[in-house]
């Protein structure tokens, strides 16, 4: 009885994102028809291009970066904290890591380790400022992290100047940190057959971080306290949780993971932090965390979907369809997924009440509702 019910709740949980994606496909089809394109052609072109080996590598690489970013955001969400500062945290972390990585020379594994540790520490430190302000001064982390994003931009711009921490390249209008020597680089993995392009070596780290996130939340006392605090602060306090400590710990963890966002690009591709280092990935992470429902596996699917949409969009411009259509699609997905989750939550609540009602009405047996746990809320 119980097993059957669990399967059903899994199906219900899956229904929400699937419905949201279908709904956004419908919306986009209407938009495409309105501007005179055949939606079927457009989608099949995207899928055809998106399944080519080279594009698959690009999708995996984008997804790796997005995954770190979304997990960083999700850790905050679990604790009811909205860390908008992932963007500033990863940029500052990547910059510091690039400076450290370019100025030292160590044996290969140690060099990479030092760079990663630097990134994690700087990311955590930057998030820590917001955490301390929130825990001990009551400053909303939304405001402080947005401000810290701007400050990070200013700090990097000040330091990334010739004569400070930047080196100039003859004839270039770009400017960046000293390139990281080969011992500090992470080689790619040629795991997709049919292409020479390589998947970021740090994709493995993303999988490990995902597992660590799941383990921490679901298999440790700390994770339990974190979720409990996120669901009801007053209940957590009365069961002996130190809220201030939890806020600081959650933000530090969030910032630490945020510190890794720039690493695949830095250690696997550009080896230097320059003016054109990708920015704005922290905001993509928010969308993906919402889509993946803060769930380690859900986020992975979200990151892959986003990677697919972003990369297969390239073919659209070439075919004369504005690729901004994909941005509209992403926006629709985020909005409709939240609505879908809310509908499912209400449905579940009603279902639970009905079953509880049945169970209490039957004096003889134990109803299935009795051991139905509330599914993990956001």
């Amino acid at each position: 009885m119980r097993r059957r019910f669990d399967l059903r709740s899994v199906l219900i949980a899956l229904a929400a994102p699937v419905l949201a994606i279908l709904f956004s496909v419908v919306v986009i089809s209407v938009v495409l028809l309105a501007v005179g394109d055949n939606p079927f052609d457009v989608f099949s072109k995207m899928i055809e291009y998106g399944t080519q080996p080279r594009t698959e590598v690009l999708i995996l690489n984008s997804a790796t970066i997005y995954y770190f970013s979304a997990v960083a955001v999700a850790i905050g969400f679990k604790m009811n904290l909205f860390n908008i500062g992932v963007d500033g945290q990863y940029r500052l972390a990547a910059f510091a890591a690039a400076v450290v990585g370019g100025s030292i020379n160590l044996p290969a594994p140690l060099h990479v380790l030092v760079i990663l540790v630097t990134a994690v520490l700087v990311g955590a430190m930057w998030a820590g400022i917001a955490a301390v302000l929130r825990a001990y001064r009551g400053v909303s982390e939304v405001i402080s992290t947005i401000m810290l994003n701007f400050i990070a931009t200013g700090v990097i711009a000040y330091l990334l100047q010739p004569g400070r921490l930047a080196v100039e390249v003859q004839g270039s209008n770009n400017i960046g940190t000293e390139p990281i020597p080969p011992s500090g680089q992470v080689p790619g993995m040629a795991i997709i057959p049919g292409t020479e392009s390589k998947v970021y070596g740090l994709a493995i780290l993303a999988v490990l971080v995902g597992f660590g996130y799941w383990f921490l939340l679901n298999r440790t006392r700390f994770g339990f306290d974190l979720r409990a605090t996120g669901m009801s602060e007053s209940a957590a306090v009365s069961s002996g949780v130190d809220i201030k400590r939890m806020i600081v710990a959650a933000m530090l963890l969030s910032g630490a993971v945020a510190g890794l966002v720039g690493m695949p690009q830095l250690l696997g591709s550009s080896y230097s932090y320059s003016l054109d280092f990708p920015a704005g990935l922290g905001f993509t992470g928010i969308a993906i965390a919402l889509l993946g429902r803060n769930n380690a596996v859900g986020i992975a699917f979200g990151a892959l979907l986003w990677g697919f949409l972003d990369n297969s969009a390239q073919i659209l411009d070439l075919e004369g369809v504005p690729k901004e259509i994909v941005t509209i699609m992403q926006g629709t997905i985020v909005l409709s997924v939240v609505i879908a989750y809310e509908l499912v939550r209400r449905y579940r609540l009603r279902e639970q009440q009905r079953l509880t009602g049945q169970a209490t009405a039957e004096p003889t047996g134990i109803g299935p509702g009795a051991d139905e746990r509330e599914g993990a809320p956001a």
Binding site: S172, I175, L275, F277, P278, D310, I315, T332, E342, A378
Partner: protein, 349 residues
């Protein structure tokens, strides 16, 4: 917590929708009604963020492409960068054009340097050009770079001559080495005329925030601040933000503004403030693009570093506002000296 999520979702959806609205890609295609018989080649062009319609250097490249297309009647394809993308995605954009048979291919902006280095090696039979970068050279790549400091030197000399207060301003869009070249030339030109002149320097944003090129409100407040500090000529090297700076100068009645990239006196979008635009520092990205396509059309595609300086008329200043006439003699004198090598203009502030 659900509340937080909802707020986040709405914010995200809003941001994404706005981002979508911002883009204005142009599908392209051979222009109809051309009298020239269709060319046998297709031209690809990859813009930096902003693309066609940015009122700045992407637009200048687009003008050059349009002019060439009118003349040679080829099929064209224009692609645009997205914010937050990596080198790998830029590389893929260029590769898509190359595999699609586009030849020649033009990359607009120094951000394409790493990507083009890889792709140009992969497609040795395709001709490429990159604007604003000379960090690498290849047999099939033309590096189209500009001596912005030389053109800025001339408008700096004009500014110093026109200034009565001995105080002028420089507004840079985004604080990058490229924009610092404008600042360097402007300051040197002004000091060449009046060694004691004060030059106020402000940049609107810091990278990676490139909104400084398209934020008229910020341009206006910054120019206002400079005028309040006694500046009576303001050089706005800030793309679309310049319109705000000119509005501030117009409102203050008296100060001059100096435009950038194209002859802003003639731009229809700036018609209301054009009488205070004394001159503009012209950077002929359009000419560079046009000449590159022409060289390909003529069967000898340009390669290597092509510096568009005063001597090649790749940079200069505009004279469409009659008010500038009284300063041109001095500016032309400096121009001759720079061309002859008597004056060397440093690209570093």
């Amino acid at each position: 917590m659900r509340r937080v999520i909802k707020v986040a979702a709405i914010a995200m959806a809003g941001a994404l929708t706005l981002a979508a609205c911002g883009g204005d890609s142009d599908g392209g295609g051979a222009s109809a009604g051309s009298s020239v018989s269709p060319a046998s080649y297709k031209v690809g062009l990859a813009y930096d963020i902003g693309g066609r319609g940015d009122q700045s250097f992407n637009d200048a490249a687009a003008r050059g492409l349009d002019q060439a297309q009118k003349e040679f009647n080829f099929e064209k394809k224009e692609l645009e960068a997205s914010a937050g993308e990596t080198d790998a995605q830029k590389e893929e954009r260029l590769r898509l054009l190359a595999t699609g048979g586009y030849n020649p291919i033009i990359a607009v902006g120094f951000a394409y340097a790493t990507a083009l280095k890889a792709v140009s090696a992969e497609f040795p039979d395709t001709s490429f050009a990159i604007i604003d970068d000379a960090s690498f050279t290849a047999a099939n790549v033309a590096n189209l770079v500009f001596a912005e400091e030389q053109g800025s030197f001339l408008v700096g000399a004009i500014a110093a001559s026109a200034s009565k207060t001995g105080n002028i301003g420089f507004i840079g869009g985004v604080n990058t080495p490229l924009l610092q070249k404008f600042e360097a030339g402007y300051t040197q030109g002004a000091k060449a005329v009046n060694a004691d002149i004060t030059v106020q320097v402000k940049y609107l944003t810091q990278p990676p925030d490139f909104t400084g090129f398209n934020d008229p409100a910020k341009g206006k407040t910054t120019a206002q601040g400079m005028i309040d500090n006694k500046a009576d000529v303001v050089y706005a090297a800030a793309g679309g933000s310049g319109s705000g700076a000119f509005e501030a100068a117009k409102a203050a009645a008296g100060p001059w503004g100096i435009g950038v990239d194209s002859d802003q006196y003639k731009l229809p979008s700036l018609a209301k403030v054009k009488d205070i635009i004394l001159t503009s520092m012209i950077k002929r990205v359009d000419v560079a693009v046009y000449q590159f396509v022409k060289s390909y059309n003529d069967g000898a595609p340009a390669t290597g570093i092509q510096t568009f300086d005063l001597a090649k008329e790749g940079v200069g200043y505009s004279t469409s506002n009659p008010a500038v006439a009284e300063y041109t003699a001095k500016a032309d004198e400096f121009k001759e000296k720079i061309i002859s090598g008597e004056i060397t203009v440093s690209a570093k502030p």
